[in-house]
C-alpha cells in the first residue's frame, strides 16, 4: 500500500467527495470530519514511513499517461513537500471539524474534499503537467467556496481570484511547454518529468526567459507585489474555512513551486533575479504591513499580514543557501499554521457578530478571555516571537538572506517591527479598553467545537517553535540536495559564487555538531 500511498492520499478525498453526494445532509459534517481524519491519519503514516535520511524523492509512482508527448503520472515526496502535504490534510481536517453551521453544508464539505485532492496533488506531483493539472484544478473549488459562501462582494472577489491566477498560470504553462521543448531538443524525447528537467543545463539567456514565464505564474499565486491585490478581496470575502485554507495551503503552492521549479531549473536566472526579487519581497514586507496597519477590517489585517509574511518566505527562498531555503520552507508551514489559526479566530467573532470591523469591537478581553488568550498567542506567533513556530522560519530565512545582502536583510528585518505595529494595534482595538458596544457585552467565549480546531493549532505553534527538529531535519536533507544541484548546474561564475557548494560544507557541519 505504501507504494501507492500518494495516489491514495490524493484521490481518497475526491472519491469520498463523490460518495458524499449520497450522504444525508444532517450527517454530512460527521462524514466530512471522518474522511478528513482518515486522510490526516494517512498523511501521518506517510510521515512515519518517510525516511528522514534520504534527500531524494520517496514513494515514487510512475504511470504512463501520454508517453508520446512525455506526460506521465509521476508522484513523489521529499522533505520539501512532505510537511506541506501533512499541513494540507491537517487544515482540511480541522477546517471541517470546526465548520460553523452554514447553508448548504453538504456542498461545502464536498467542495472542501475536492480542494484537498487538488492541494495534495500539487505538492505530490513530479510531472509538470500533472502539477499544472492540480494547480489549476485547485482554483475551482476555491472559486465556489468564495463565490457561494462569501461576503457581499463575493462574486467579484472569486472571479478576480480565479482569473488572476488563471492568467498567470497560463503564462507559466507556455514556459513549461518551452521547457519540455528544450528537453526534447537536447535529448530527442518529450518529457515533462521534473526530475528529468533537473538534469538539463540551459544557457543563461533561455533561463532568464523561462524564469520570467514561471515567475508570473508563481508570483500571482504567492502573491507577490504588485500582483497581490486579489488576495485581500479573496480573504475579505471568503468564508472562514476558505480563508484558512487559502492562507494555509494555497498560497504555499507559489512559494513551493519556486523551490521545486525555479531554483533548480534555472540557477543562473535565480541568481540574476535574486536582487530584483528580494526588492519586491521587501516591498511586500513593508508596504503591505503598512497597508495592514491602515485597515479597518480585522480579516483584511490578517490578509495583508499574510502577504507581508509571504515576502519573508520569498526572501528566504532566494537566499539560495541551505539556511534560507530551509527557513522559508519551515516558514511556509509556520505561516500556514499561524495565519490559518488567525483566520479561524477571526471567524469566531464573525460568527457571533457578523461583522469584522474593528471599530465594532473593543474590550473583548473582558468578555472572551479564552479567546483573547489564544488570539494573543497567535498574534505573538505572527509577530515572530521566539519559541513560536514563526520565529524559526523567519529567523532562518533572514539569516539565510543575510549572506547575500546585508542592507536588504536589514530592510527586510523591519518586518519584525512593522509586523508588531499593525498586529498590536489591531489587538488593542479589539481586545483592550472597556466594552463599549452593547452587542459585545454578552458574547459567548469560544465553544468546544472551536477549541477543537484552535487548541491543536496552539499546541503546534508552541511545540514546533521549541522543537522544530522533526520537521527541519528532513527539510534540511532535501534542501541540501537542491542547493547542491543548483551549484553544480550553475554556469555563470556569479551564480557559482552565490550558491554555496553544500558538499564542501558538510564536513564543517559534522565537525560543528561533534564539537557540541
Amino acid at each position: 500500500m505504501l507504494d501507492h500511498i500518494l495516489s491514495i492520499l490524493i484521490f481518497f478525498p475526491a472519491f469520498a467527495g463523490i460518495m458524499g453526494f449520497m450522504i444525508n445532509k444532517d450527517s454530512m459534517r460527521a462524514y466530512g470530519t471522518a474522511v478528513a481524519v482518515i486522510e490526516f491519519a494517512l498523511s501521518l503514516w506517510l510521515w512515519f514511513a518517510f525516511d528522514n535520511n534520504v534527500s531524494g524523492m520517496q514513494f515514487m509512482e510512475h504511470i504512463a499517461l501520454v508517453p508520446s508527448f512525455g506526460i506521465n503520472y509521476i508522484l513523489g515526496v521529499d522533505g520539501i513537500s512532505l510537511f506541506i502535504i501533512i499541513m494540507a490534510s491537517f487544515f482540511t481536517m480541522i477546517g471541517i471539524a470546526s465548520l460553523s453551521p452554514t447553508h448548504s453544508i453538504k456542498n461545502m464539505i464536498i467542495t472542501l474534499l475536492f480542494l484537498q485532492m487538488t492541494m495534495i496533488g500539487v505538492f505530490a506531483a513530479l510531472d509538470a503537467i500533472i502539477f499544472y493539472v492540480f494547480w489549476e484544478l485547485s482554483l475551482v473549488p476555491m472559486l465556489y467556496l468564495i463565490g457561494a459562501w462569501g461576503g457581499p462582494l463575493r462574486i467579484y472577489a472569486s472571479v478576480k481570484f480565479f482569473l488572476y491566477t488563471f492568467t498567470g498560470s497560463l503564462i507559466m504553462l507556455v514556459g513549461m511547454l518551452f521547457m519540455a521543448y528544450f528537453f526534447y531538443q537536447a535529448t530527442g524525447v518529450w518529457s515533462f518529468a521534473i526530475l528529468d528537467w533537473y538534469r538539463l543545463v540551459l544557457p543563461e539567456s533561455f533561463q532568464l526567459w523561462l524564469f520570467a514565464a514561471f515567475f508570473i505564474g508563481f508570483a500571482i499565486k504567492v502573491p507577490m507585489f504588485p500582483f497581490h491585490t486579489w488576495l485581500p478581496y479573496a480573504h475579505g470575502q471568503a468564508p472562514t474555512i476558505g480563508s484558512v485554507i487559502l492562507a494555509a495551503v494555497l498560497l504555499k503552492m507559489g512559494t513551493y513551486a519556486f523551490i521545486r521549479f525555479s531554483l533548480p531549473l534555472f540557477p543562473d536566472a535565480s541568481v540574476f533575479f535574486m536582487f530584483p526579487i528580494a526588492i519586491i519581497a521587501i516591498i511586500m514586507i513593508i508596504y503591505t504591513a503598512m497597508i495592514a496597519y491602515a485597515q479597518k477590517d480585522i480579516k483584511q489585517v490578517v490578509a495583508y499580514s499574510s502577504v507581508s509574511h509571504m515576502g519573508v518566505i520569498i526572501l528566504g527562498t532566494f537566499a539560495l543557501n541551505v539556511e534560507g531555503i530551509s527557513g522559508s520552507i519551515f516558514l511556509m508551514i509556520a505561516h500556514g499554521v499561524v495565519s490559518g489559526a488567525l483566520f479561524l479566530l477571526v471567524g469566531v467573532i464573525y460568527d457571533r457578530r457578523h461583522t469584522k470591523l474593528m471599530s465594532e469591537f473593543g474590550g473583548l478581553a473582558h468578555v472572551m478571555p479564552r479567546y483573547a488568550t489564544i488570539f494573543g498567542l497567535m498574534l505573538m506567533a505572527s509577530v515572530g516571537m521566539p519559541l513560536t513556530i514563526n520565529f524559526v522560519g523567519e529567523f532562518l530565512s533572514l539569516l539565510g538572506f543575510y549572506q547575500q545582502s546585508h542592507i536588504l536583510t536589514l530592510l527586510a528585518g523591519i518586518a519584525i517591527v512593522v509586523g508588531a505595529i499593525y498586529m498590536l494595534t489591531a489587538f488593542k482595538k479589539i481586545f483592550f479598553g472597556e466594552v463599549t458596544n452593547e452587542k459585545n457585552k454578552n458574547l459567548p467565549d469560544v465553544s468546544k467545537r472551536e477549541l477543537l480546531a484552535l487548541i491543536p493549532l496552539s499546541i503546534i505553534t508552541v511545540w514546533l517553535g521549541i522543537y522544530p527538529k522533526p520537521i527541519l531535519d528532513p527539510i534540511n536533507n532535501s534542501v541540501e540536495a537542491v542547493v547542491q544541484l543548483m551549484h553544480n548546474k550553475a554556469t555563470s561564475p556569479e551564480a557559482k559564487m552565490r550558491i554555496p557548494n553544500v558538499s564542501g560544507l558538510v564536513i564543517t557541519k559534522t565537525a560543528t555538531k561533534e564539537a557540541h
Partner: protein, 641 residues
C-alpha cells in the same frame, strides 16, 4: 549541579503554568503563595549554584536539546552558569521572590490576581533564559520573552487606554532595537559560523576591525532598546502604567539591565573595539544626566523613579563602555536592590493614596506610613550614594573608573548627575512623607501596607544597606575569574580622599537643598501659574524635551498617514485599479464594438466584402512590391534609406 540549574530555570515556568491554570477563575490566594514558593525555590537553587561556583570556580554548562539545526547552523538549548550569569540569576530570583510575595498583598483586590502571577512568573522564566543561555540565539529568546511579558504586564490593566498604549509602545520600541540585535546575530553567524558564546568569542580574534565594530554596534542597538537608552528611552517612563510590582521587577531591577548584561557578556567583543566602548560610555553618561534632568521636575512618583533608573542605567553603560565590566555588573546588582525597594515603597504609597501619583498631592505621609518612609528614605540614600550604603560603593566606583581612565568629561557629567540624583530622590521623599498634609483635603485616607509586604521588602532594605561594604571585594574576586580584573584605584591618596569626600559633600548638599525647598509649608499643588512653571527649562523638562511629541508628530502620525496613503491611494487606486483597468479595457472594448453585430444582413454582407477588399488591397500592395522589388530598392536607396 545540573539539577539545580534546571530547577532554577524551570521553577518559574512551572509557577507560570500553574498560575495560568487559574486565570479564568476568581482570585485564589494560594496561587500567589505557590507561585512565590516556586520562585523562591529558584532562588534557593541559584544560591546553591552560587555557592558551588564560589566554592569550586567550576562553570556549569549543559545542553538540553537541539533547537534549530539546518545547513551549517546549529543552535541548541544550552545553558551556562558562570560567574556573570549567576550574579544575574541571584538578582533576578531574589528580587522576583520578593516582588512575588509583595504582590500577594499589592494585588489583593485585583480581579486579575491569578493572571498577574502567571505573567510575572513567565517573566522570571524568560529572564532566566536570557541570562543563562550559552548562545546568542538563546539570549534572543529570553530577550524577546521578557519583551512579551513586559507587554503583558504593562498592559495588565487592559481596560486602561494609556496602559495598553504604553504596552504597545514598549513592545514596538523594543522591537526596533531587537532588529539591530538580530542583525548582530546574523553578522556573528556568517563571520564565525556559530552562535555559541565560546565559539564566537574565540573566533572574534580573527575578524577584521570593521566587522567587529559592526557586530558591536548592532548588538549594542539591541541593548539600547531593552535598557531604554536614548533615543529609545520614552517607553520606560510610559511603562509605569503597569502595576507597581512590575515596575519594580522589570523596569528597575531586571529586564532593563539586560542591555548591560549583554554588553558585559560580550566583553570579549567590546574589548576588541574600544571605540565602540567609548561611544557606549559617552551615551551612558549622556543618558545619565539627561534622564536625571527630567526626573527633577516630574510630578509622578513612579516616573521619577523610572527616570532615575534610566539615569542609573546610564552609569552602568558608562562603566561597561569603559571596560569596567565588573563594576557595571556590581552597580547593576546594587541598583537592583535599592531601586526595587524604592519602587515597592512607591507602590505602598500609591496603594495608600488610591493610585494617586502626584507627590504634590501627598505630604506628611510619614506619620501614617512610618515603615514605608524609612525604607524609601534609606533606598534613596543608597541611590544617592551616601556612605556606607550600597550606592556609594558601586556608583562612586564608576566615577573613579571614569577618572582613572582620564575620561574627565564623562566623569564630570556623572558627578553632576550624582548631585541631581540626590536632589530629585529627596525631592519626592520630602514631598511625600514630610511637610504639610495636602492629601486629606483631597479626600485620601492613607494607611500603611500589609505587614507581610513590609517584611517581604526588608531583605532588599538590608541588601541596600550592606551590599556595598560586605560584598564588593568577594564579588570582585568571584566575577573577575571571567571578566577582566582591572582594579580602579586612584593612585594618589589625596586625590582619592578629596574626590570621595567632595562627592559626598556635593550629594549631601543636594539632599539638603531638596529638603529645604520641598519641606516648607509653602509647597502648593502646582496649578501652572507659578513663575517656575512658566520657565523655559521647566517646560522643556516636564515635557521630556518634547521628544515624545516629536515621535508622535513626526513618526507615528506620518507612519499612520503613509499607511493610509499606501492603502487608499497606491494599493487601491494604482495597483488594484490597473488590474481592474486591464480587465475593463477588454470588457468595454467588447461593449463598444458589439454594435458591429447589428443583426442586419446587409451590414454583415458589407463586412464580408470589406474584409475581402482589405485583404485584396494588402495582396495587391504586396504583389506589386514583389513585382517591382528591384525598382523599389533603387528608389529607396536613392532616397538614402
Amino acid at each position: 549541579m545540573e539539577i539545580y540549574l534546571y530547577i532554577a530555570l524551570f521553577a518559574p515556568l512551572v509557577s507560570s503554568l500553574f498560575a495560568a491554570l487559574f486565570t479564568a477563575t476568581p482570585k485564589k490566594q494560594f496561587v500567589g503563595i505557590i507561585a512565590s514558593l516556586l520562585i523562591f525555590t529558584a532562588f534557593v537553587s541559584s544560591s546553591i549554584l552560587l555557592t558551588h561556583i564560589l566554592g569550586t570556580g567550576e562553570i556549569v554548562h549543559v545542553e538540553l536539546m537541539t533547537w534549530m539545526a539546518t545547513g551549517n547552523l546549529y543552535i541548541p538549548f544550552g545553558f551556562v552558569v558562570d560567574q556573570v550569569s549567576v550574579t544575574m540569576m541571584m538578582v533576578v530570583t531574589l528580587v522576583s521572590t520578593i516582588v512575588h510575595i509583595y504582590s500577594i498583598g499589592y494585588m489583593d483586590h485585583d480581579s486579575g490576581f491569578n493572571r498577574f502571577f502567571s505573567y510575572l512568573s513567565a517573566f522570571v522564566f524568560s529572564m532566566m533564559i536570557l541570562v543563562m543561555s550559552d548562545n546568542f540565539a538563546g539570549l534572543f529568546i529570553g530577550w524577546e520573552g521578557v519583551g512579551l511579558c513586559s507587554w503583558l504586564l504593562i498592559g495588565f490593566w487592559f481596560h486602561k487606554e494609556s496602559a495598553t498604549w504604553a504596552a504597545n509602545e514598549a513592545f514596538i520600541m523594543n522591537r526596533i532595537a531587537d532588529l539591530g540585535m538580530l542583525i548582530g546575530i546574523f553578522l556573528i553567524y556568517w563571520n564565525t559560523g556559530t552562535l555559541q558564546y565560546d565559539g564566537a568569542f574565540a573566533a572574534f580574534g580573527n575578524l577584521d576591525q570593521t566587522t567587529l565594530t559592526l557586530i558591536g554596534i548592532f548588538l549594542f542597538i539591541g541593548a539600547m532598546g531593552k535598557s531604554a537608552q536614548f533615543p529609545l528611552h520614552t517607553w520606560l517612563a510610559d511603562a509605569m502604567e503597569g502595576p507597581t510590582p512590575v515596575s519594580a521587577l522589570i523596569h528597575a531591577a531586571t529586564m532593563v539591565t539586560a542591555g548591560v548584561y549583554l554588553v558585559v557578556r560580550s566583553h570579549e567583543l567590546y574589548a576588541l573595539i574600544p571605540n565602540v566602548g567609548l561611544f557606549i560610555a559617552s551615551l551612558g553618561a549622556f543618558v545619565a544626566i539627561f534622564a536625571a534632568s527630567m526626573a527633577l521636575v516630574n510630578r509622578d512618583i513612579k516616573r521619577v523613579i523610572a527616570y532615575s533608573t534610566l539615569s542609573q542605567l546610564g552609569y552602568m553603560f558608562a562603566a561597561a563602555g569603559l571596560g569596567a565590566y565588573w563594576v557595571a555588573l556590581f552597580h547593576l546588582m546594587a541598583h537592583a536592590f535599592f531601586k526595587a525597594l524604592l519602587f515597592l515603597g512607591g507602590g505602598n504609597v500609591m496603594h495608600a493614596m488610591n493610585n494617586e501619583l502626584d507627590p504634590f498631592k501627598m505630604g506628611a505621609l510619614g506619620k501614617t506610613m512610618k515603615g514605608t518612609m524609612i525604607m524609601m528614605t534609606l533606598a534613596s540614600v543608597a541611590l544617592a550614594g551616601i556612605f556606607p550604603l550600597a550606592g556609594f560603593f558601586s556608583k562612586d566606583l564608576i566615577l573613579e573608573v571614569a577618572f582613572v581612565d582620564h575620561h574627565f568629561i564623562i566623569y564630570t557629567v556623572l558627578l553632576l548627575t550624582a548631585g541631581l540624583t540626590a536632589f530629585y530622590s529627596f525631592r519626592i521623599i520630602a514631598l511625600i512623607f514630610h511637610g504639610e498634609d495636602r492629601h486629606t483635603a483631597l479626600g485620601h485616607h492613607p494607611h500603611e501596607a500589609y505587614k507581610f509586604m513590609l517584611v517581604a521588602m526588608s531583605p532588599l532594605l538590608i541588601l541596600a544597606i550592606i551590599a556595598g561594604f560586605t560584598m564588593k571585594m568577594p564579588y570582585f574576586e568571584m566575577v573577575t575569574e571571567l571578566l577582566p580584573a582591572t582594579e580602579y584605584h586612584i593612585h594618589s591618596h589625596t586625590t582619592y580622599w578629596i574626590m570621595t569626600i567632595g562627592t559626598q559633600l556635593f550629594v549631601m548638599l543636594a539632599i539638603f537643598f531638596a529638603y529645604k525647598k520641598y519641606m516648607c509649608s509653602s509647597v502648593k499643588i502646582p496649578d501652572g501659574t507659578s513663575k517656575m512653571e512658566n520657565n523655559f527649562f521647566y517646560k522643556l523638562l516636564i515635557n521630556q524635551y518634547y521628544i515624545p511629541y516629536f515621535y508622535e508628530a513626526y513618526i507615528v502620525k506620518i507612519y499612520k498617514a503613509l499607511s493610509v496613503v499606501c492603502w487608499e491611494q497606491i494599493d487601491k487606486k494604482i495597483v488594484d485599479a490597473s488590474v481592474d483597468g486591464i480587465a475593463n479595457i477588454f470588457y468595454n472594448t467588447g461593449k463598444n464594438t458589439r454594435q458591429m453585430q447589428s443583426g442586419n444582413l446587409s451590414t454583415m454582407l458589407k463586412w464580408m466584402v470589406a474584409g475581402t477588399v482589405a485583404l485584396l488591397s494588402l495582396a495587391v500592395v504586396f504583389g506589386l512590391a514583389a513585382k517591382y522589388s528591384d525598382e523599389i530598392t533603387i528608389v529607396l536607396s536613392s532616397l538614402g534609406v
